[in-house]
């Protein structure tokens, strides 16, 4: 019988610690498939964030480093500047990249570092127990916004992709989503484009934001979570290519 589908070798054959309906597993697979399809495993170094994806190196079979909360773009800068032949990517959540690490991502982008950044936006701090993130939606209930996020008190959801797209140092900015198969395919294309730009040596930082579900801390079923991304999140975080 002909083999029509197989797990991509860079994705390890093991169960993950992620919750049911979480987007990290799918996003990991897209990264792993991209690395394998491009044949760059042997010169790729990945950076795991602080957050639920801190153990990404348990699932991605490539050289990886785990770094302090939010500092991935600085660590990536140190790696790429001293190893211009390597393909360096960071994989960061919204607590990591859009809160504590805002300075690092803005300045890595502003310097035009030749990096690929995968930004998982699930509108919440996952690992610490579902607290508000800068990307939390208005009226969204979290562990630290028990009455729902109010703009007058906690500000508005932070649109990082839009912020980065205006910087001359970014060469590609796209926001994708994992809420259905067709968008997962689009996300994979975007990830591939991000890596290709780096392989081609195009100056600048490529940034792929991915809307991803956190059913546990959204207090929704996985199915309802996908609807919420499609109907609610995409209104605040519109999908599509912002640059490049």
């Amino acid at each position: 019988m002909a083999l029509v589908f197989a797990r991509t070798p860079t994705l390890k054959d093991c169960p993950t610690h992620y919750c049911a309906g979480c987007g990290h597993g799918v996003a990991h697979r897209l990264v792993a498939e991209t690395v394998d399809e491009m044949g760059i495993r042997g010169r790729t170094i990945g950076i795991a964030p602080v957050g639920c994806a801190v153990l990404a190196y348990d699932y991605l079979d490539i050289d990886m480093i785990e770094v302090a909360h939010g500092r991935a773009p600085a660590v990536a800068t140190g790696m790429k500047r001293t190893n211009p032949d390597k393909i360096i990517f960071s994989y960061q959540g919204d607590g990591d990249l859009a809160a504590i690490g805002t300075a690092e991502i803005i300045h890595a982008a502003h310097r035009g570092e030749q990096l690929t950044v995968i930004f998982i936006n699930n509108a919440v701090f996952g690992m610490t127990g579902g607290q508000m993130a800068p990307t939390t939606m208005i009226e969204q209930v979290t562990a630290t916004t028990p009455r729902g996020r109010e703009a007058s008190d906690q500000g508005y959801p932070l649109q990082i992709a839009e912020l980065l797209a205006v910087l001359p140092g970014t060469n590609y900015v796209e926001r994708c989503s994992l809420h259905n198969a067709s968008h997962i395919r689009k996300a994979k294309k975007a990830i591939r484009r991000g890596f290709e730009l780096q392989v081609e040596g195009v100056q600048g930082l490529s940034f792929i934001e991915i809307l991803s579900a956190c059913p546990t801390y959204w207090r929704m079923t996985p199915e309802r979570s996908m609807e919420w991304i499609e109907k609610d999140m995409t209104k605040v975080f519109p999908l599509g290519r912002l640059k490049g």
């Binding site: 042997g42 079979d61 490539i62 302090a68 500092r71 600085a74 800068t77 140190g78 790696m79 500047r81």
Partner: protein
């Protein structure tokens, strides 16, 4: 060449691959020098957006096996402590230069030795140490750079150079020469892309039962070896001394003049000068204390190293402290007065 430039050139001669840093007085000559010289040598210079970013750039470059350093001054070093703790947890080599200024807070930009506690106790969170040099001349500053890189690579840890504003700005003739490296282990842990091998992971999160204690035990065993093998200490006129002054860095140079003048007055004074502040010359001081001497510790702080001196003396002899803070430097006369005061009961 001022001390800051001399140490920068010495680092380049020692094979520095990359320098990352952020401006702060009184060490600005280091990034300025590196920005000119590193590109000439085919190396990397990058001015970061913050000290937090600088130490994390060091973290990233070090993880790929490169020789890498940063420099800053006291408030900036406080910001770097997050990264220094992660370097310890991940066992990555790095060299960090702290050209100390007055504190706490923004303090002032005058020379100080107020960061001794921070440097010798690790500085950040968790059970770890950094090797700390406290050079007292520009030549010694130059000479400790290649050794610092070798020790960082050998033990896979941070080595800190604890200089001060005077040493950084001071101009002295120096000899810069390439020294042979120690026999160093291969960096077979480095992240280079997993071509034809299993993946390498650099991490400090250890959640499995017992794994973190195992790392801590490994680190402590390493630190005990360093305490046995890497202490550097200079003794001057200690053998027959009745008053032993303990001082490091620029303070030790002033003390040396005071000790020489005391000797001219017939007072039996001597100097123990730790060159490595951690590992501390506990044994040397303890042995001197066996002779029932009086100890005077002189620092440009409100009294930090004096605690290590007391631990080494362990109650065997009196330990007296004299220090100036807030960017003030003790004078030879001030120190000589203290030595004279201590010599009175000895004569009686």
């Amino acid at each position: 060449m001022c001390g800051n430039e001399a140490l920068a050139e010495s680092a380049i001669i020692a094979g520095l691959d990359a320098y990352f840093g952020y401006p702060i007085t009184p060490q600005n000559e280091i990034p300025a020098y590196m920005s000119r010289r590193m590109p000439e040598e085919g190396g990397v210079f990058l001015q970061s957006e913050s000290e937090l970013a600088a130490i994390n750039m060091v973290f990233g470059a070090s993880a790929t096996g490169k020789r890498v350093m940063t420099s800053s001054s006291s408030p900036g070093i406080s910001l770097m402590q997050e990264g220094i703790s992660y370097l310890a947890g991940a066992e990555l080599p790095a060299v960090v230069v702290n050209v100390m200024r007055g504190g706490p807070g923004l303090g002032n930009i005058a020379p100080s030795q107020g960061d001794y506690f921070q440097a010798t106790r690790g500085g950040g969170h968790g059970d770890y140490r950094t090797i700390v040099f406290g050079p007292s001349t520009v030549q010694e500053l130059v000479d400790c750079m290649p050794l610092a890189f070798d020790l960082a690579d050998q033990y896979r840890m941070t080595v800190m150079i604890l200089a001060d504003g005077i040493l950084g700005q001071m101009m002295e003739p120096v000899v810069l020469e390439k020294k042979p490296r120690r026999k160093l282990p291969a960096k077979d842990w480095a992240l280079t892309g997993a071509e034809g091998r299993e993946q390498h992971i650099v991490r400090s999160l250890l959640l499995k039962d017992g794994a973190l204690e195992e790392l801590n035990c490994k680190l402590q065993a390493k630190y005990r070896k360093i305490e046995r093998e890497e202490v550097i200490c200079e003794e001057y006129a200690v053998e027959d001394a009745e008053i032993v002054v303990v001082a490091y860095g620029i303070a030790a140079r002033i003390v040396r003049s005071a000790v020489e003048r005391a000797r001219q007055e017939g007072i039996k004074a001597g100097l123990i000068r730790p060159v490595t502040l951690w590992p501390f010359p506990t044994k040397q001081i303890s042995e001197a204390a066996d002779e029932m001497k009086v100890f005077l510790t002189v620092e440009m702080s409100c009294g930090q190293m004096v605690e290590d001196v007391k631990l080494a003396v362990a109650g065997k002899a009196p330990v007296v402290f004299y220090g100036r803070s807030g960017g003030n430097v003790p004078s030879v006369d001030d120190i000589l007065d203290r030595i004279r005061e201590l010599s009175v009961p000895a004569k009686a």
